[in-house]
């Protein structure tokens, strides 16, 4: 199935992509210049911000739950589940990095493999 990807910080350019393929591959095949490193979801280089729609990124191991709650997605493993809107590149990384001493993570904000569920 084809999905529409809108890139908000590239003049809302739109691309039709295959929902089975990682977004990094699809967008690069369409000529979008994107940073990447490991290509297996572990190094965060390809992170982008999802501002609308849904992706599946079960294979990513780079993001902690705080970054995920800010909308970050790992393009080298993420596949679109719907039409989506992204902000790409380092310009989208405003909330990706934080000083770990000044702004610690809560237990539920750690990476998914070590996070403990939030007390309600």
């Amino acid at each position: 199935m084809m999905r529409t990807v809108t890139i908000a910080n590239r003049d809302n350019a739109t691309f039709q992509v295959d929902h089975r393929k990682p977004l990094l591959d699809s967008l690069r095949a369409n000529g979008v210049d994107l940073p990447y490193g490991c290509k297996y979801g572990g190094c965060i280089t390809c992170a982008a911000k999802l501002t609308a729609g849904e992706v599946h990124q079960g294979a990513q191991v780079a993001l902690n739950n705080r970054q995920i709650s800010h909308g970050y997605v790992i393009l080298c493993v993420a596949r679109p589940m719907s039409d989506i809107t992204l902000e790409i590149g380092v310009e989208s990384h405003d909330k990706l990095y934080r000083n770990p001493f000044l702004d610690p993570l809560e237990p539920h904000e750690l990476k998914p493999d070590i996070a403990t569920p939030k007390d309600i």
Binding site: C38, G42, T45, P100
Partner: protein, 451 residues
């Protein structure tokens, strides 16, 4: 006295100290993580004070890809091949930590303008050895060994990649990783049949950035490992605990007969010393403990974060950097059990003690260092690792890194920043880049091992 036998390097550390002064420096510079979609590169810097291009980048050897994150590098041959006329120190191996590509750069055909000779693709390394994230490179004889911090999917502990002298993949070097949890740096001392390795974290842990809480979840290292070098397997692990959180750079004495060595525990901000006792047992002790420093805007005191350590070629001085505090320290370790604090300079850092040096705003803190063979000139760069830079020093994205020279008093101890030398990587033609490890032709204070 023969200055030179037939192969690369020097007969001994004492001979190395008499080498002519280094006039060129190589450092890697990265665009990974900066937002500039350009390849990382090896920068060549002129540091001949009599040259019209002194203190400038004179050439840039770009790697083919984007986003490799060049980091550490090593020579294809060192003084361990001093007796081998068929070997020469011609190539720098420059790996990309993120891509696992290993770039072989010819620095000898034209030392002022190195060129790319060959790339060992990360995909081939992963397919043949199930390893990724290359870090430290050492050669021994004609063999080249590289610590690889992860398996092909970025999980710890990784292992060691073995290359032959023509840069073909031989396979895994080690016969066993034993119970080792993580890899990082290593150094060997063949006359004691020993290698010591340290621990950072899995690539999937450290590459995305530093979550302090993951230290408590045992995702970062706190052990060092002593290997039976001939058997290629670990024989003894030392649990350093809270004194040794994130043990990084490993340095043996240059003297090949010595069993003394040191590792800097980055997060604990301690220097750990080891040696073989009279009974032939390996022992360790903490010899330096850098106090955390208060910061007006921080709820907790700032740890030093010792990102690198280095020994002078005569094994007299230990140098290290506190990347977050912003100081470089010099200790006289003539008695390795009792270091004497002899010098300190400040540049950058979070404590605000030296925001500007030689007219350049220093973003980041003192990070990688390299020392001249005679021990008198210490070169320092300011970027640690792209994602970690972005967390602690976000302005580095627009300011770039820089390189400075510290003049060291080798007689009485003491250090001062050289006022004439500064390379501002914020002014690079493609935009601000960040410099990391430095080497120079002929072998340096972290490259050569004597057998």
């Amino acid at each position: 006295m023969t200055k030179h036998c037939c192969g690369p390097g020097y007969a001994s550390p004492a001979e190395a100290m008499k080498a002519p002064r280094e006039k060129l420096l190589y450092t890697i510079a990265i665009y990974t993580g900066t937002g500039i979609q350009k390849p990382d590169y090896l920068a060549t810097i002129d540091n001949d004070p009599d040259s019209p291009t002194y203190s400038q980048v004179i050439s840039r050897c770009e790697v083919p890809g984007i986003g490799d994150e060049l980091h550490h590098m090593g020579w294809n041959a060192c003084s361990s091949c001093f007796d081998d006329a068929s070997m020469s120190r011609k190539y720098l191996l420059v790996p990309g930590v993120r891509s696992s590509n290993i770039h072989i750069i010819d620095c000898a055909t034209d030392p002022r303008n190195p060129t790319l000779f060959k790339v060992i693709e990360g995909a081939e390394i992963k397919a043949k050895t199930n390893l990724s994230a290359p870090h430290t490179i050492h050669c021994l004889g004609s063999e080249i060994i590289i610590s690889m911090l992860g398996d092909a999917k970025g999980n710890a502990p990784g292992g060691y990649l073995h290359l032959d002298k023509d840069f073909n993949i031989v396979g895994r070097w080690e016969n066993s990783m034993g119970g080792i949890k993580f890899g990082y740096d290593f150094w060997y001392q063949p006359r004691h049949n020993v290698m010591v390795s340290s621990e950072w974290a899995a690539p999937n842990t450290f590459m995305p950035g530093f979550d302090l809480e993951e230290v408590g979840h045992l995702k970062y290292g706190r052990e060092i490992h002593f290997w039976d070098f001939a058997k290629k397997e670990p024989m003894k692990t030392m649990y350093l605990g809270e004194d040794g959180l994130i043990p990084l750079e490993v340095r043996f004495h240059h003297n090949p007969d010595s069993s003394h060595g040191f590792v800097g525990a980055a997060l604990s901000a301690n220097i750990i010393h080891w040696w073989k006792d009279a009974a032939g047992e390996w022992q360790w002790e903490k010899i330096i403990d850098v106090e955390n420093e208060p910061h007006p805007e921080w709820p907790i005191p700032v740890p030093g974060v010792i990102s690198v350590i280095l020994l002078s070629m005569d094994d007299k001085y230990l140098y290290f950097c506190n990347w977050l505090h912003g100081d470089i320290r010099q200790y006289d370790i003539s008695d390795p059990h009792k270091p004497v604090f002899t010098g300190q300079v400040w540049l950058g850092g979070l404590l605000g003690k030296a925001p500007e040096v030689n007219g350049v705003k220093v973003t980041g803190g003192p990070q990688m260092i390299q020392l001249s063979l005679d021990g008198k000139r210490l070169y320092v760069t300011t970027s640690l690792f792209s994602t970690w830079d972005n967390q602690f020093y976000p302005e580095i994205r627009t300011n770039g890194g820089c390189m400075l020279q510290i003049d060291c008093d080798t007689e009485n101890g003491g250090m001062k920043i050289n006022p004439d030398f500064v390379v501002d990587f914020g002014k690079e033609p493609n935009g601000p880049s960040r410099c990391h490890e430095t080497r120079y032709p002929g072998g340096d204070c972290t490259s050569d091992i004597w057998i």
